[in-house]
């Protein structure tokens, strides 16, 4: 390991301008988080107050151990969907510590449309449970949902990864021996009823909690039977008569206290044994990341400067420092845990692709989790590179990244374009977690490049009968295309659609990696084995 010697001049005009730009972005992100978490129509807040309900945030804070982190995932899910009216997709998910246990928390947010499940809500729950499965994390469900949002039922019900997948994932967790506790704080109707039913443990609040397949109005319509909520599926009904619920609770806080006690009885799994040392803060201030990330996505920067502000003591052992220099590979410690790091320092050439595939195999062999730091425009194109086999070298990287047994975590620190996204452990390659920085972009190709291609097509159509378009006319075609493309390649769009697990303020990245890397170590991993590399 060597201390990284930063080449950054923090007094330079460039650094200062970047810092202002990126700090503004981070500030905007925080403001979006705040609004998503706390800004609600007054009538919804009043309704919850009448029901003596805590807010979802208060519930989570009560659930967590004092003095421990809560890392919220996909806070801005659905921010570009449903007219922006379903903040966080009406669901809060994250990783936290409950009774000393790392758990995934899934909480319905009853202050958003009564906790209705939208298609992206379903996606968010499924993703949270995928995380639980992939990382062997127990789950605490805080249930308070009015059920599926009927007008959009076609988009949330039937397909493989839609609502049914929630319950399939719960059953999978159970089969893996990973416990779940559901706290029923409101109604769990229809499909929602299965969340507590499929949890090994559940707690229900007397008076406000209820579980049923069909609520009283549906029962009346179906069979004519008139029944109260409590009789049909209240606390005493389920804890004393049906056995659907396990623990009666008097209040929400009581229920949360019981759930904490339950989690405290769970056996903790033995973590994957990787090299660990005492954590050390980075030598360089992580806040300097604001000044390092360029304002313009096309401006290159040295990924070592980012690494120096993430890893323990800013110490890094660089692998093959002279070969394939557009890919930086090496070892470092994050919160004392040894990781391999693969970061982009330019376009991927043949040598850098080979280096990447080789280093991945090395990490898999010595059981070292890998952190991917993406800033990639893609693999080099052109005759020379094709002749040298750039496609098959890229394929080697994809084969390697797909076949890794060690945990992968990906942070898109700037651009993520084209096949570079694949080779650098994009979403499709099952990194255990994937995060974006606020200014980062993700798409098949860069916005200008893509807009040019699309504009050219349109111009060709418009001029098929002959004639030429004025520069203004071309601009009128190009601008909306460019705007649309930019929106869809933004981090906000990505996170709205949950192509990632959330946007990170760069200074939060080290903590986020600590929490998630620790989570990945709960799952045992297989011996190294890969598919066939095209040599």
């Amino acid at each position: 390991m060597r201390l990284i010697h930063s080449q950054i001049d923090t007094t330079s005009a460039e650094f200062q301008a970047n810092a202002i730009h990126n700090r503004n972005l981070a500030e905007t992100l925080r403001e979006r988080h705040r609004k998503t978490r706390f800004e609600r129509p007054q009538r919804d807040l009043d309704r919850l107050a009448r029901q003596h309900k805590l807010s979802v945030r208060e519930r989570i804070e009560a659930l967590l151990d004092p003095g421990t982190p809560f890392f919220e995932l996909s806070t801005l899910a659905a921010n570009q969907a449903y007219g922006g009216e379903v903040p966080g997709a009406a669901i809060v998910t994250g990783i936290g510590i409950v009774a000393g246990q790392e758990v995934v928390i899934h909480a319905d947010d009853p202050s958003v449309k009564g906790g209705s499940w939208y298609p992206l809500s379903v996606k968010k729950i499924v993703r949270a449970l995928d995380i639980a499965i992939e990382n062997r994390l127990p789950v605490v469900h805080l249930c308070d949902s009015a059920g599926g949002f009927l007008p959009l039922q076609a988009d949330l019900f039937a397909d493989k990864y839609l609502a049914g997948r929630i319950f399939r994932n719960q059953a999978t967790l159970s089969k893996l021996g990973i416990p779940q506790v559901a706290i029923v704080l409101g109604h769990c109707t229809a499909g929602g009823a299965y969340i507590p039913a499929l949890s090994e443990y559940n707690v229900i609040v007397r008076g406000t909690g209820a579980i049923f397949l069909g609520g009283p109005p549906l029962v009346k319509a179906a069979t004519g039977e008139v029944v109260t909520v409590d009789e049909l599926g209240g606390c005493d009904t389920h804890t004393q008569i049906s056995g659907t619920a396990d623990y009666p609770a008097d209040t929400e806080m009581h229920a949360i206290a019981i759930a904490r006690d339950i989690v405290g009885t769970w056996k903790r799994v033995e973590k994957l044994k990787i090299e660990r040392i005492a954590p050390e803060a980075p030598l360089y201030d992580p806040a300097e990341l604001y000044g390092i990330i360029p304002r313009d996505i096309k401006v290159q920067f040295d990924m070592r400067e980012v690494i120096a502000r993430l890893v323990d003591g800013s110490r890094f052992h660089e692998y093959q420092p002279a070969y394939g220099t557009t890919l930086v590979c090496g070892f470092a410690h994050l919160w004392g845990m040894r990781v391999g790091i693969i970061g982009n320092n330019g376009v991927l050439f043949n040598d850098s692709s080979l280096k990447g595939a080789h280093f991945m195999q090395l990490c898999d062999q010595n059981r070292t989790p890998i952190l991917f730091l993406q800033n990639i425009t893609g693999y080099m194109v052109g005759r020379e590179y094709e002749h040298r086999g750039i496609t098959k070298d890229g394929a080697k990287m994809i084969m390697a990244v797909s076949g890794l047994e060690v945990p992968k975590i990906t942070v898109i620190v700037n651009g993520s374009f084209g096949a570079g996204n694949y080779g650098m452990s994009g979403r499709a390659f099952d990194p255990r977690f994937l995060f974006m920085w606020p200014q980062s972009q993700i798409s098949v190709m860069g916005a200008d490049q893509a807009a040019n291609v699309l504009t050219e097509l349109k111009v060709k159509q418009a001029t098929r009968g002959g004639g030429e378009l004025s520069a203004e006319a071309i601009a009128a075609i190009r601008e909306p295309i460019l705007d649309d493309y930019r929106r869809q390649s933004s981090a906000l769009y990505s996170t709205s659609e949950m192509w990632d697990d959330g946007i990170l303020d760069p200074v939060d990245t080290r903590n986020a990696l600590g929490v998630t890397l620790s989570a990945t170590l709960n799952r045992p991993i297989d011996r190294p084995h890969f598919g066939v590399f095209r040599m």
């Binding site: 804070e61 009560a62 659930l63 967590l64 151990d65 004092p66 003095g67 421990t68 007397r206 005493d236 004393q240 623990y247 009666p248 609770a249 008097d250 209040t251 806080m253 009581h254 949360i256 206290a257 019981i258 904490r260 006690d261």
Partner: protein, 163 residues
């Protein structure tokens, strides 16, 4: 959630988390204090005090600054239950069918948690119906010698005032 402690009946919340090397972080209000207890030595922040602590269940008897204090930890489950630690309802129901052997209380009787209020017999087995919490009996539903069915109300305690 943070823990609840009672010092002389007054409530205080605090959290405790490990800080490595035998140190802990005490979270009080918005502050974090590095603390440790090393035998008769209490470290709080930069301060070291001689201390004697004797623990009895959830109560710590502490001798500090030449004074003795009693600090009680309230378990969260008991703290937030409206009734007793079991989170039971105000009405105690029969766990199985049987008959009443003895009734020790009547409406208005003050009971303390654990006090035997009624003895019932089912399947030749005597079971004591104990008060789940401190309170006052509102109704004793069945008299000695009477039989009852499973789930029948036996005794109802007067509901506690909402805090």
């Amino acid at each position: 959630m943070r823990h609840l402690f009672l010092i002389d009946e007054a409530e205080h919340e605090a959290g405790l988390a490990p800080a490595g090397d035998g140190l802990y972080h005490l979270l009080v209000g918005g502050e974090t204090l590095a603390v440790a207890l090393d035998g008769p030595r209490l470290v709080t922040g930069g301060r070291r005090d001689a201390v004697h602590v004797a623990v009895e269940g959830n109560v710590a008897h502490i001798h500090l600054d030449g004074r003795a204090f009693r600090v009680e930890f309230r378990e969260a489950m008991a703290r937030f239950a409206k009734g007793g630690a079991e989170g039971g309802a105000d009405t105690l129901t029969a766990p199985m069918p049987g008959s009443v052997v003895a009734v020790n209380v009547e409406a208005g009787t003050s009971v303390t948690a654990g006090q035997i209020m009624m003895v019932i017999e089912s399947m030749k087995l005597e079971t004591a119906i104990k008060a789940p919490r401190d309170g006052v009996v509102a109704t004793a539903h069945v008299a000695a010698g009477k039989t009852f069915n499973k789930g029948a109300a036996l005794i109802t305690l007067a509901p506690l005032e909402e805090a």
